[in-house]
Symmetry: C2
Subunit: 433 residues, 2 copies
């Protein structure tokens, strides 16, 4: 006899609707491949009267997601509400207490409470699946959890926020300034009215925290992520990057270092020849460096209803197959505490852009500050008169050899204190790829 | 109590050795994550006395892989011998008859007997896993089988042979001729002494046949793959591609068309801006276009002991978790017969390179032949005197708008018959990306 898995879906926005569409359109295929019928038996959303363009069949309507989460009519609670607290968290916890498996696309919830929730499900031998929470339709969670299980991850890095990548790509290809393109992105629906969460790097940081836990077997530690957004990237940086053979991307990077695990989200210079350099627009990607596999790069749509729903359905299918594995590969009670690799110990090359007053001694002072911190330069270019900074200022671009964040910050503080530059120095990390 | 999965590994070459190394080095992690100990209890290889740089512990040695395959000491038969017939096939069939799960890296075996073997395992509720058979360390089988289960695949294409990609990449970057670089690749160990299997496209065709079955729910139909190798790609083509904004890659493509499923392996022009254009050297990639997810691109090492062993261990881990799913997503008895989309119906743009005698009427005759077959040209460039073809010949490069393979072949046959060209026309398909 064919088994049956009863699904309760909370949240009927773009992703919820697309999930129901897949479960309807592909019902026969899924049933046959899984040996289990996937039935949406209950749903919940804020507004029952809204026309969503599809019928809910026999599914029971719940006004309250928490009531749906504990309903006897479901085996799996699919949480597509969002938000790190409130009804999303309460309903997920209630569902687990009531013995339901959980599928969620909620990166904020997991970034803040992932370890705790993993412990709750594992105590009851339930599943907590979240492929849709990171990089939309890219199967990165399953890849890390299952495909790379024989490997030791040494580093992962990726483009984890489509809004930022869209803006930086347009700045690169069209030569617009950040604010202009952000405004157009908002009008086109690629950026929120309040874009802080995306362009400030926080969305990418949520996703990075989850990937880090999977990669290194550590507790989810969003609080240990260093976060810097793209607000201060100017067209001058994008153009200088292009001249130097780089593109600027907002990267999330997690790497094991001697002093701990660096988790960082920041704009980075990536060589044009790197695989991820060509990932443009709202597309996301994740590169995983591991032993013995080498580097695996996954590229795909980072958002959108259909892409995200594809991942939600993949998680549901796993549960239908009986794949009840620890949420973060290692069981929650054995996850190691995350030791933060401090940013000041970060080692790498740096791009520095300064607007320097054109007067005797200015360059010597800058060079002295660099030398004093043992920062050696790979290249230094005076590009042109800096139109933004007045006629007496020249734009100076420096690329350093590998140094530390502590050294570069000390050198820049000294340069700023010397008073030879206009405004603050610009500093962008160069990421090895 | 911790469960135990007993593994019998046949074939202790590079991949077998790397598999044992992972199972040894990562034993504690795998046991903890899977809740099952993975024990190599038996091995087999041709030469027992050879020093392989590792100890086999308590594993029982079998001189005969078929005896190992049916041994009471194993639960999973890991076939790393290779070859479509002989001991590989016989031992796999014997293992299945004896109730063993099978993990294999053997693309030739599965390309020729995949449907039959899938039927055998499914009748006994056993697993047949082959992540390592396609694209080495790239988790493409799991992605198609599990992550994209909610999707309808419309097309897939990829760089599936590292040797070809290595040679084409070097021709592109260094400007060498095919034969020179092939010879160097052989000396460096990137190409076999008899390179026909790789450079003729047959290795890629084996892999493509497996991906096609997974993508479209059809029986494995290697005999339906159109195969063309890279032997005839000259530096003139690589340089012309570069001028026109393309790179040349050996692609495997499977696409659903009105007349059936096109499965084809051939050199293709790919726009430099495409994600796969930057995949160079021995790296492989697979792009999957599916609804509703969009396009997912996976890039990684296509060969090598560690990368391939990573996939072998992933398959073993799946079995340890109890993931006994149909080998090709759809159960073998429900796979549809593969209806071949004939190459003559293939629709696309074409690159044509001709060495044309510089005499009155030559161009007019060529243009007339094209027009007669309704082939319209996007561009036509007379590049220079063709040094290879003598002083009176000019090299003419044409890019066509979309047309059919039948039309282009008829036009080229006519052009050749007219006698205005030196040698045979060169034709390379342009792949939309």
């Amino acid at each position: 006899m064919q088994g049956r898995l009863r699904l309760g879906i909370a949240g009927l926005g773009t992703v919820g609707a697309a999930t129901i569409k897949i479960l309807t359109d592909r019902r026969a295929h899924l049933s046959q491949a899984l040996g289990v019928d996937l039935d949406v038996t209950a749903v919940s959303a804020r507004d029952r009267s809204r026309d969503r363009g599809f019928t809910l069949g026999d599914a029971t309507w719940f006004d309250d997601a928490k009531a749906l989460a504990v309903s006897d009519e479901i085996d799996v609670y699919v949480e597509l509400i969002g938000g790190e607290e409130g009804v999303a968290r309460e309903s997920v916890e209630a569902a687990i207490s009531a013995g339901k498996h959980v599928v969620t696309a909620n990166k904020a919830l997991l970034a803040h409470h992932g370890t705790q929730l993993a412990g709750l499900v594992e105590a009851q031998k339930l599943a907590l699946k979240f492929e849709a929470a990171v990089a939309g339709g890219i199967p990165v969670i399953k890849t890390m959890r299952e495909s790379l299980i024989g490997n030791e991850v040494t580093r992962l890095y990726g483009i984890l926020n489509g809004t930022c990548n869209y803006i930086l790509s347009r700045m690169t290809f069209e030569g617009g300034e950040f604010n202009t393109i952000l405004k157009e992105a908002q009008e086109a629906g690629y950026a929120e009215a309040d874009p802080t969460f995306d362009i400030g790097g926080f969305d990418a940081a949520h996703k990075l925290a989850l990937l880090t836990s999977l990669a290194f077997g550590t507790e989810v530690a969003f609080e240990n992520v260093y976060v810097e957004g793209i607000e201060n990237i100017s067209l001058a940086d994008v153009e200088a990057a292009d001249d130097l053979g780089y593109v600027i991307k907002l990267l999330g990077v997690a790497v094991q270092t001697e002093s701990g695990i660096e988790q960082r989200v920041h704009p980075a210079m990536v060589p044009k020849t790197a695989g991820i350099a060509g990932v443009n627009g709202v597309t996301n990607c994740v590169a995983i460096e591991a032993n013995p596999v080498g580097e695996v790069l996954l590229v795909g749509p980072g958002a959108g209803g259909g892409a995200t729903a594809s991942s939600v359905v993949s998680d549901i299918a796993d549960i239908a197959r009986g794949e009840i594995t620890p949420a973060f590969v290692t069981s929650a009670d054995r996850l190691m505490p995350s030791v933060r690799g401090p940013m000041r110990a970060h080692a790498g090359g740096y791009y520095i852009r300064l607007s320097v007053h054109d007067r005797p001694g200015a360059f010597a002072a800058i060079a002295t500050r660099m030398a004093h911190e043992d920062v050696s330069l790979e290249s230094i270019v005076q590009r042109r008169v800096d139109a933004n900074a007045g006629q007496d200022a020249a734009q100076v671009i420096m690329i350093t050899h590998e140094t530390t964040e502590a050294a570069i910050r000390a050198a820049l503080a000294g340069i700023e204190a010397d008073g030879h530059i206009v405004g603050a120095p610009q500093m962008i990390r160069i990421e090895r790829t």
